[in-house]
C-alpha cells in the first residue's frame, strides 16, 4: 500500500512536472506552429519575478507568483509585437529568433542577478507515510497541473475565443476574410503561452535553487513532451506526458535519475520513429 502510494506520488510528481514544463510551449506550438526556444527563459522570468517580489518586495507568496506570471506575460507581449509577428509564415526563422532571445535573457539574468539567488522555502509541510516523507506542496502541484489543463481545454474548445483561435489555425486567410483579427488571435495566444510558462516558473520557484539557467531544467522535458504529443498537443499532451512519466518514474526507480532522462529521450526517438505524428496522431487514427 505504502509502496503503491509512493509510486503514485513519484508518477504524479513526474507527470505534473512534464505537463507544466510543456504546457506553455504546447499552446504556442499547437496554435501557431512555432516552437518557442525561449520557453525555458520564460519560465526563468516567472521564477525570478516570483522570488524577487517575495524576497525584496516582501509580497506574500501567492501575490508574488501572480507578479511573476504578469511580468512574463508583459515580456511575451512585447516580444510578439516587435519580433515574432514579423516572422509568421517563416516557422524555422521564428524558432531561430526565439533561440537568440533565449540567449539574451539567460545571460542578462546572469549579469543582473549573478550566478545564484537566495531561494524560497517550500510552502506547506511534509508528511510521513511509512519510511517515506512527502511534500504536500508537490501533491498540490499535481492538482494544479490537472486543473490548468481542464481550464485550457474549456478555453480553447468551448469558448468563443477558442473557436476563433482554432479557425485561425485551420486557415488564417479564410478566418481573416470572415472578420477574425488574425493578428490579435496570435498575440493573445502567445500571451497565454507566456502566462503558462511564467506560471510554471512561479509555482516551481519555491522548490528549486534559483539560478539563471533554471529554465533549462524544464526545456528538455518540455520539448520531449510536445514532440511526443504530436501535431495536436491538446489531444496528445496528457497521454504523452503520462507515458513519458511512467517510463521516467520506473527507470529512475530502478536505476538513476540521469538514466531516467536518457530513457525519456530514447523512448521519444522510438515513438517518433514508429508514431511520427505522436500520440495525437495515434488517437485521431484510433477514433476513425
Amino acid at each position: 500500500m505504502i509502496i503503491l502510494f509512493n509510486l503514485f506520488y513519484q508518477f504524479g510528481d513526474a507527470l505534473s512536472f512534464l505537463l507544466l514544463a510543456a504546457i506553455g510551449l504546447a499552446v504556442i506550438f499547437g496554435m501557431m506552429k512555432i516552437i518557442n526556444l525561449a520557453h525555458g527563459e520564460f519560465i526563468t522570468i516567472g521564477a525570478y519575478g516570483t522570488v524577487v517580489s517575495a524576497k525584496i518586495l516582501k509580497l506574500p507568496l501567492p501575490i508574488a507568483m501572480a507578479v511573476g506570471v504578469l511580468v512574463t506575460v508583459i515580456f511575451g507581449y512585447i516580444l510578439e509585437r516587435i519580433i515574432i509577428r514579423h516572422l509568421y509564415g517563416r516557422p524555422l526563422d521564428s524558432v531561430v529568433a526565439t533561440w537568440g532571445i533565449s540567449l539574451i535573457v539567460s545571460q542578462s539574468f546572469l549579469v543582473i542577478f549573478g550566478p545564484s539567488f537566495e531561494g524560497l522555502q517550500t510552502p506547506l509541510s511534509n508528511f510521513q507515510l511509512g519510511a517515506y516523507s512527502y511534500s504536500q506542496y508537490r501533491l498540490l502541484l499535481i492538482l494544479i497541473s490537472i486543473s490548468i489543463l481542464i481550464l485550457l481545454y474549456i478555453l480553447f474548445l468551448k469558448s468563443n475565443f477558442g473557436t476563433l483561435a482554432r479557425a485561425t489555425i485551420e486557415n488564417p486567410k479564410i478566418a481573416s476574410t470572415l472578420g477574425v483579427k488574425v493578428d490579435k488571435v496570435y498575440t493573445v495566444t502567445f500571451c497565454i503561452g507566456s502566462a503558462l510558462a511564467g506560471l510554471t516558473g512561479a509555482i516551481y520557484a519555491p522548490t528549486m535553487t534559483i539560478v539563471p539557467s533554471i529554465g533549462q531544467a524544464f526545456i528538455v522535458s518540455a520539448f520531449v513532451t510536445v514532440v511526443t504529443a504530436g501535431a495536436s498537443p491538446f489531444i496528445g499532451l496528457i497521454p504523452a506526458a503520462s507515458f513519458l512519466s511512467l517510463i521516467q518514474t520506473s527507470v529512475t526507480f530502478y536505476y538513476h535519475a540521469t538514466i531516467g532522462v536518457l530513457a525519456l529521450l530514447f523512448s521519444v526517438i522510438l515513438i517518433i520513429r514508429f508514431l511520427p505524428k505522436g500520440f495525437s496522431g495515434l488517437l485521431i487514427k484510433l477514433k476513425k
Binding site: I34, I104, L265
Partner: protein, 331 residues
C-alpha cells in the same frame, strides 16, 4: 576559369597563407582556433542552406567526435600511429552515429521544426550524461570520463617515424587547418554543383516532386546529415587536439546555439560566406569574452535576432554580393 565571385575566396586564402610570416605563434594559435569552428559551420550550411533541414544539435557530433578521439587516443597511446588513425576512427564513429540519427529522422518522417527539437534534445542529453560521469566508475578502458570537468591528457594528433616526431600543433596545425578548409570548401562547391546537390536543393522546395522523379530523397538527406555530422566531428577533434581537453559544456544549450548563429549571420546559402563569417564571429566572441562570456553571448543572441528579423539572407553574403556588384560588375 576565374569567376569574379571567387576573388574574395582567393584573396582571403592568400591572406591566411601569409599570416604566419607576419605574426607570431600566439596569433597563429588563435587564428587556428577561430578556423577550427568553420567546419561545424560548413556542415550546418550544407544541411540547412542546401538541404533546408535545420539541425540544432550539431554539437552532439562535435562532442561525440572529441570524446571518441580522446578515449581512443588515451587507451591506445602505445600502439603505432595512434595519432593518425585515432582521429580517423573517431570521425567514422561520428559519421555512423550521424547516419543512424538521420535514419531515424528522415525514415521516421520527421521534418521541419521537429528535427531541430530532436537534435537539440540529443545534444542536451549527451551533455547531461557526460556531466554526471565524474565518479571513478565512469571509465572506458584507461580513460576517465571525468564528468563536468571533461577529459584531458590525450596524446595529440601526429605521428612518430623513427627519430622524427610530428605533432599537429603550432604552425603545422595552422597550415593543416587552412589546407583542410580549402579542400573542404572546394569539395562542398563540387557537391553543390553535382546532381546530388541538385536533388538536395530541389528537395528543399518540394520533397514529393523530387521523389516523383525517381530519387530516393530520404537516403540523400540521410547521407547529407551524416556528412554534416562528419564536418562537425572534424571541428570536435581539432578542438580537442588544439586545447588538449573536451568538456560536456561543448554540447550544451549555449554551445549548440553558436553554429546556428554563425551560419545564419554569415549567409547559409554560401559556403565561403559561412567560412569567413564564422572566423569573424568567433574572433568577436573571443575578444568580448575577455570581459565575461555572458556579454559575448548576449551580443551573439542579439545578432541572431536582428539577422533573422532584418537580414535573413545573412550579412556576409549580403556584403559580398554588394561588393561584387559595386566593384566587379563592369565588364
Amino acid at each position: 576559369m576565374l569567376k569574379k565571385d571567387n576573388i574574395f575566396t582567393i584573396s582571403v586564402f592568400i591572406v591566411l597563407l601569409i599570416i604566419p610570416i607576419l605574426f607570431d605563434d600566439f596569433y597563429i594559435n588563435n587564428i587556428s582556433y577561430f578556423m577550427i569552428w568553420t567546419f561545424i559551420s560548413l556542415g550546418l550550411a550544407l544541411i540547412w542552406g542546401m538541404g533546408g533541414i535545420l539541425s540544432f544539435g550539431q554539437t552532439a557530433f562535435f562532442g561525440l567526435a572529441g570524446y571518441s578521439f580522446a578515449i581512443i587516443s588515451i587507451n591506445f597511446s602505445d600502439i603505432y600511429a595512434v595519432g593518425i588513425w585515432s582521429p580517423i576512427l573517431a570521425l567514422a564513429i561520428t559519421a555512423i552515429f550521424g547516419a543512424i540519427v538521420g535514419y531515424f529522422l528522415f525514415y521516421g518522417g520527421i521534418y521541419d521544426v521537429f528535427i531541430g527539437i530532436v537534435t537539440l534534445a540529443i545534444t542536451l542529453v549527451l551533455e547531461t550524461f557526460m556531466a554526471q560521469t565524474a565518479g571513478p566508475e565512469w571509465t572506458v578502458g584507461n580513460a576517465r570520463l571525468n564528468g563536468f570537468n571533461g577529459m584531458q591528457g590525450m596524446p595529440p594528433i601526429g605521428i612518430k617515424i623513427g627519430e622524427y616526431k610530428f605533432d599537429l600543433q603550432g604552425i603545422g596545425q595552422y597550415y593543416f587547418i587552412v589546407f583542410l578548409a580549402m579542400f573542404l570548401l572546394w569539395l562542398l562547391y563540387k557537391i553543390k554543383k553535382s546532381n546530388f546537390g541538385l536533388i538536395l536543393l530541389a528537395s528543399k522546395e518540394d520533397r514529393t516532386r523530387v521523389e516523383s522523379l525517381g530519387h530516393n530523397v530520404k537516403k540523400i538527406q540521410m547521407i547529407t546529415f551524416s556528412l554534416s555530422a562528419l564536418l562537425a566531428g572534424v571541428s570536435g577533434i581539432l578542438y580537442t587536439n588544439w586545447g588538449g581537453y573536451i568538456t560536456p559544456s561543448s554540447m550544451g544549450l549555449i554551445a549548440s546555439a553558436m553554429p546556428v548563429i554563425w551560419v545564419a549571420a554569415s549567409g547559409k546559402n554560401d559556403f565561403f560566406s559561412v567560412f569567413f563569417g564564422c572566423i569573424l564571429l568567433v574572433y568577436i566572441s573571443q575578444t568580448l569574452a575577455v570581459n565575461g562570456a555572458q556579454y559575448a553571448i548576449i551580443l551573439m543572441g542579439l545578432i541572431l535576432v536582428i539577422v533573422t528579423r532584418y537580414f535573413p539572407e545573412g550579412i556576409i553574403l549580403m556584403l559580398k554580393k554588394l561588393l561584387t556588384n559595386k566593384f566587379l560588375s563592369k565588364k
